[in-house]
Symmetry: none
Subunit: 154 residues, 2 copies
DNA sequence: AATCCTTTGACTTTAACTGATTTTAACTAT
DNA sequence: ATAGTTAAAATCAGTTAAAGTCAAAGGATT
């Protein structure tokens, strides 16, 4: 347990713990310098330890003034349910099932009626004019991304 | 928010917010001086943050007494807005432009922060893992459908 | 030995910034 | 009026400063 990735992970979680905000902003090249590693190792750490499944969101911007922002998802009933639903959705989902998921979120009051409408519109079969195997996969990706997005605080 | 372009953007939007009119007039060289940058950077900011998709018109005049006028397109009636936006979106749209449209809806307070996040998640290029010509078309379809779903009726 | 996790680096993409050159409008002096 | 000068803004290609991707090599674990 003494590899660089673990150290970077600990460091970032330390930063998050110390921060008053629910997120922390770093620069990839700075981090790489601090830990004497190659910049892409930061990406490795992010994907293996700061995924949504782990309870984190990662946003970033390239170009000069670029940054990486790591957002901690507050763990409560809401996030539990959302992550669980993401599990249920899996790799692919039919429109009917997607509607079911959205309805469930609405009933649980985790999303508003307007949010439900937006999600429904995105997931609609008339919009996703693609052949069958691809369509259900894309629908799953879309739905999961959308419902995860409501986990961000603020 | 650490680069000059973001600062210039904020400054201009501040000016617009403070102004009683729906437009603001500046001089490119003045702005460049105020922010210690090269004049052409102002043009960069204008094209990347004050395009029609973002909800702004830019007029200007060269020569002595020249100026740049930034006009915020007034959009009060919701139905008009939907039509106009869908027009802007067209058949296909890049992610950057889609983000611009969403940002604008948010600034106009026609959607909530959470709704903006849901839309953003749906329109994200990492989700829409498709080859280029198809992806931008799908993104346009999605965005239009989502906007209509929420701004019509309501 | 096989598999999984980590580390590396070459290549790509994106965003911001720069500066030389061009275009336009107004002003000035013939 | 006309030509010349000056004071703006526009353009666009090029540079710099980030972050992302991906596959291959290296280590650790079972």
């Amino acid at each position: 347990m003494n590899n660089i990735s673990d150290l970077i992970e600990r460091y970032l979680k330390q930063l998050l713990a110390e921060s008053k905000r629910e997120f922390v902003e770093v620069q990839r090249s700075d981090l790489a310098l601090r830990f004497s590693c190659v910049p892409s190792q930061i990406n490795y750490v992010l994907t293996t330890r700061f995924s949504a499944g782990h309870g984190y969101f990662v946003e970033s911007r390239r170009g000069s003034g670029g940054y990486i922002r790591i957002i901690k998802i507050p763990l409560d009933r809401k996030s539990d349910m959302v992550l669980e639903l993401c599990d249920v959705i899996g790799e692919a989902i039919s429109q009917a099932d997607a509607d079911g998921v959205i309805k469930r979120l609405l009933e649980e009051k985790l999303i508003s009626l307007r949010e439900a409408r937006v999600m429904h519109a995105a997931v609609d079969g008339n919009i996703l004019k693609l052949s069958m195997p691809v369509r259900d996969k894309l629908r799953a990706l879309l739905l999961k991304a959308m419902i995860k997005s409501i986990l961000r605080g603020g």
